[in-house]
Subunit: 117 residues, 2 copies
DNA sequence: AAAATAGATGAATATATGTTCATGTATTGT
DNA sequence: ACAATACATGAACATATATTCATCTATTTT
């Protein structure tokens, strides 16, 4: 029975992958040019309407709307309707830290790998 | 001609989305449970063989190998062959900051949004 | 030389994501 | 009441990602 105990012990040493589930989820929610651009804008403005966001970047209304709705569903953004406008805001400001951090990383040279696909 | 100038000016105010290309690229390269688990392990070990990585988590050899190769191709990891073993290491330690940052974010309550899909 | 070990690789497949287009809905201005 | 504005939504599609399986290669052990 010894080998069973050893196997069980080894199993216990394994990192619990589930602790990364949520992290991966958040990263997936960010990992897109358009969405990063939205987050960047919202990091400087408390809240912005769809039109304001659209004017700040280069994105079709429909596509932006889809992304905004996705991010809201994923708990990244909040949305408040007011008359004809919808105002979106960051739900958790700490997201900004992640963005800053990765922007800092991206100052160097993944460009080659990107180019190579 | 005035309106043309105004349009051009508006165009200039738009955020250059391309600055987020590389950031999105890195985020995509991280946004996966298995890969985060690899990065976590490599953040504590300088370098690890595929077998060591495998023992530290719960992942089939082939799948892990695919992920490792992808991350290498994307410039996240380096790889050194030595006899029967391949040793992988983080190419840029700053990735660890991103991981820490997002793990910190994920301490709170995206769980509901995840559950809701 | 044969078997075992460590890892890589390619095809096949399932699923997720991103994007566009056409159209819908609520609100506001005339 | 009608037109315009601001935004949402669903279908259709293309592309990207994740995963499995079977197989291959290089190295080491016996």
């Amino acid at each position: 029975m010894e080998h069973v105990a050893i196997a069980a012990e080894k199993e216990n040493k394994k990192i619990d992958r589930s602790q990364f589930e949520e992290a991966a989820y958040i990263l997936r929610a960010l990992a897109n040019e358009t969405r990063l651009c939205v987050i960047m804008q919202l990091s400087q403005a408390a809240e912005l309407s769809v039109t304001e966001l659209m004017e700040g970047m280069n994105c079709e209304q429909s596509l932006l709307s889809h992304h905004l709705n996705d991010m809201r569903a994923k708990g990244i953004l909040s949305c408040r309707r007011c008359g004809k406008n919808s105002f979106y805001a960051l739900k958790d400001k700490r997201i900004i830290h992640v963005l800053r951090c990765v922007m800092h990383c991206s100052e160097t040279d993944y460009a080659a790998a990107i180019a190579a696909n």
